[in-house]
């Protein structure tokens, strides 16, 4: 400081003021782009599962995203392994796959092929089995199971019920 001139001091003072201002405005700009409270709050969807047909994909909507609901046939349940079973949501004795219907690669909606009992994403050729587990690249992970709570014959999406928390504890969902 001893050697610096008065003009040098003024330059540094301006730099400090401008730096604080720039940081502050960045915080404001960042928050202006955050999802609005009204968008973030509109987040619960109830789905009635009592009339769902077996091996026929139902698409519901939750937070603007498609939700896949697939009721498995007894044969499908009998033939599946441990990892598939761990992802089943059991409502009233029936096994369901309920996931966000967006490919984990880049977010296209895969199509269900009921004859082959699997999903094909037309965008980049990814495939998933009837439990939403990826079987062909490029998707790097299974279809995402949304937070859910089982209530009688319905599930409520957006709320974390005990079944969902168990899946979380077992590492089935992140």
């Amino acid at each position: 400081m001893e050697k610096s001139s008065r003009r040098g001091f003024m330059g540094k003072a301006f730099g400090a003021v401008a730096g604080v201002g720039a940081l502050g405005s960045l915080v404001a700009m960042k928050q202006s782009w955050d999802p609005l409270p009204s968008v973030a709050a509109a987040g619960f969807t109830e789905i009635d599962l009592s009339n769902v047909e077996e091996n026929k994909l139902i698409v519901e909507k939750w937070r603007g995203k498609p939700i896949f609901v697939l009721k498995k046939t007894a044969e499908m349940v009998a033939n599946q392994g441990e990892t598939e079973l761990a992802r089943d949501i059991i409502v009233d004795g029936s096994h369901f796959m309920i996931t966000i219907g967006l490919c984990t690669h880049l977010g296209c909606i895969p199509a269900y092929r009921d004859a082959k009992k699997d999903f094909l994403c037309a965008c980049h050729g990814g495939e998933f089995n009837a439990s939403g587990i990826h079987t062909k690249s490029p998707p790097p992970s299974p279809l995402v199971i949304p937070p859910f709570k089982v209530a009688g014959n319905t599930v409520v999406l957006g709320e974390e019920g005990p079944e969902y928390q168990k899946m979380k504890a077992d590492g089935v969902v992140a």
Binding site: R63, K65, P66, C108
Partner: protein, 404 residues
């Protein structure tokens, strides 16, 4: 204060205050251009004119377009197309120009690569040009969102998902960019702002920098000859116009430029009036629907080559490859280790490199349009690997290049 005298004319009055004669000399009549150049040197002016067309047609579209998820689609496809007098003209000019501008950008870039116009003092011309290319890409993408059709929505979904950075799963970043869980009102509004204000401002500023970058190294010529512009311009001003290697930018070179522009404009308006369909994807005439993905999502033709580099790999590898492909052209002046400024056909192995790169970009473009199945997958993968192999090979083949 400077001394002002009673003006003898309006020109003199302005000259005393704004030095307009001096400005005219610096910008036009004593801005020197080499003689030995061909029509490819007019692409810069063609681009400037195309940008002008985009700006003017955009201003008219802006007067009726509504950035609202409920009304955007109809404001374009009904109001502008059916109700506004000549609204169809502005829309077709805007769509065709947005597509053709990339054709000219690619010709402009490949011309620069072929003639070595990116080195020995011309690096900043190349880098500012690449920044323009990237900004134009963002401008094209944000504009593609605005009609809010199926391709708008799903392109928006797929491209914003890239920012989750693969296995890092940065979903918060994606939601921040969208302002929502999925592309919605906040998304449409902010991309509208980017398209009509922030990105055009950036483009205009970058065009200024791009032109300024030309002043000191001057524009290259067909032989890569180093011209002493002081000597040659003096020769010209002393009356030896035939012996001088340079001409004035205006009106001499500009007349050639504008001749090429007029041929371009005939081609451009032929497309606008009779063949605009290539610039309007049929899928985008369905309104956006978050519950139905189009059977096959592909970008406009000018993004296909980089899209195809993303596609054949696993998610993370694909993203890394895609990111590198987006920026690798910036490094061209530094990866080319040869001092030779000359057309590629005089540079030995570099000529082969150049034409392989052109063919590879065309193959990638074609494969990007085809569905990702069977043989197309394999060809796409090979073309993507060739793309990277070429960039790795570049420093080696140019290092061993013979000095011309």
């Amino acid at each position: 204060m400077a001394k002002f005298t009673k003006a003898t004319s309006i020109k003199d009055w302005l000259n005393q205050r704004l030095a307009i004669e001096k400005v005219e000399k610096v910008m036009a009549s004593e801005y020197w251009i080499p003689k030995n150049i061909n029509f490819l040197w007019a692409m810069g002016m063609v681009l400037a004119i195309t940008f002008g067309l985009l700006l003017i047609s955009g201003i008219f579209l802006l007067m009726y377009y509504q950035p609202n998820v409920e009304t955007a689609f109809d404001s374009v496809n009904y109001t502008i197309m059916q109700e506004v007098g000549f609204g169809w003209l502005w829309r077709h000019v805007h769509a065709v120009a947005a597509s053709v501008v990339f054709l000219i950008i690619y010709i402009h870039m490949l011309t620069g690569i072929y003639y070595g116009s990116y080195k020995k003092g011309r690096e900043m011309i190349w880098i500012s040009g690449m920044l323009l290319f990237v900004t134009f890409s963002a401008e094209a993408f944000s504009g593609y969102m605005l009609p809010w059709g199926q391709m708008s929505y799903w392109a928006g979904m797929v491209i914003t998902n890239l920012f989750s950075a693969g296995s890092l799963e940065l979903n918060g970043v994606v939601e921040w960019i969208r302002g929502d869980y999925v592309p919605g009102q906040a998304f449409l509004n902010r991309f509208f702002m980017l398209h009509v204000l922030l990105l055009p401002l950036a483009i205009i500023a970058l065009i200024g920098i791009h032109f300024a970058a030309l002043r000191i190294p001057h524009v290259n010529n067909q032989d890569g000859e180093e011209i002493d512009f002081d000597v040659e311009s003096k020769k010209y001003l002393d009356g030896d116009k035939a012996g001088s290697k340079v001409i004035r930018f205006a009106n001499d070179f500009l007349s050639k430029d504008m001749f090429v522009v007029s041929i371009f404009l005939m081609f451009f308006f032929y497309l606008t009036f009779w063949n605009y369909g290539f610039a309007m994807d049929p899928v985008n005439f369905d309104p956006a629907d978050g519950l139905v993905t189009p059977a096959h999502i592909y970008p406009e033709w000018y993004f296909l080559w980089s899209y195809e580099i993303l596609r054949p790999f696993s998610k993370d590898l694909g993203l890394i490859a895609f990111a590198i492909a987006q920026v690798i052209f910036f490094a061209l002046p530094f990866l080319d280790r040869s001092d030779n400024v000359a057309p590629a056909n005089r540079r030995g192995a570099f000529a082969i490199w150049f034409w392989l790169m052109v063919v590879d970009l065309i193959v990638l473009t074609a494969m990007g349009k085809l569905p990702p199945e069977g043989a197309f997958n394999t060809i796409g993968l090979i073309a993507a690997l060739v793309f990277f192999a070429l960039w790795i090979a570049l420093p080696f083949i140019t290092k061993s290049e013979k000095k011309l």
